[in-house]
């Protein structure tokens, strides 16, 4: 059922983005959609509930907050890079994800990496290893604001 739904969705997206309705292009689209389904099935996408609309609904305010964080940390890192002395204090810290859901851990890891000044090195069963450009950045991360917000995305 979800297989067919995903296929219809993929095909609609293909038609919308190509905007061409020639037989050759449509059959190419058909082939790539089928191939995508095959790959997704091999990855176990249909075995587990990976993505729910509940999560998508809560992601939007989270993205808004993340965008503000991104702008702030972008300016911080830009200032460090451009300053003549370039004062950095690289730090590796360990952060325990508040959520045990692998999808939310992936979102947390990727949000950390996306923010300039912090890069996730490893996620082992909820223990994240994070490389930070400065000591202050590491402290801000350990305060756990992002961790809390990601855990709050959990479907209840």
């Amino acid at each position: 059922m979800r297989l067919i739904l995903t296929f219809v969705l993929l095909m609609l997206v293909w038609l919308l983005w190509s905007g061409f309705f020639k037989p050759l292009l449509i059959s190419l689209g058909l082939l790539s959609c089928l191939f995508t389904l095959f790959l997704a099935r091999r990855m176990g996408f249909f075995k587990r509930e990976v993505f729910s609309l509940h999560l998508a609904y809560r992601l939007i305010p989270f993205w808004g907050w993340l965008a503000l964080e991104l702008i702030k940390s972008n300016l911080t890192v830009a200032r460090i890079v451009l300053s003549p002395k370039m004062v950095i204090s690289p730090t590796v810290v360990q952060l325990t994800a508040q959520s045990d859901d692998p999808v939310l851990q992936a979102i947390l890891g990727n949000s950390i990496t996306l923010t300039p000044g912090t890069v996730t090195l490893d996620d082992h069963e909820g223990e994240l290893l994070v490389h930070c450009l400065t000591r202050q950045g590491a402290d801000a991360l350990l305060e756990g604001d992002m961790n809390r917000r990601v855990a709050a995305l959990q479907r209840s």
Binding site: L16, W17, G19, L70, I71, N74, V77, A78, V81, L82, M86, I88, S89, P90, T91, V92, V93, Q94, G109, N110, S111, T113, L114, T115, P116, G117, T118, V119, T120, L121, D122, L129, H131, L133, R135
Partner: protein, 112 residues
Amino acid sequence: MQLWLDILSWILLSGGGLFVLIGGIGIIRLPDLYTRMHAASLTDTMGTVMILLGIMLQAGLSLASVKLAAIAVFLLLTGPTATYALANAAMLAGRHPKDVEMPPDLPEDLRL
């Protein structure tokens, strides 16, 4: 109206270009692989998003803008995934970060 849109779009485009440039300077100036990745994420986030927003203002309300927004979303999803793959590979290969401070209670097998 058109004039203001143009001005805003040019501010975004040059701002994005500036962030790509700063990211490049950072990659050259910073000391090792891990710190350089922080500079690369400047280009990844502010650089691309500002440039795409600037082009979207030029394209106006059209299908092209929707496609540009989709490109921005895809880049923001795949960018950190690729960065994680690189960082994790470097870590597993045993590359040591330069002058790094580590918490004393870090388990032995996680020490770099």
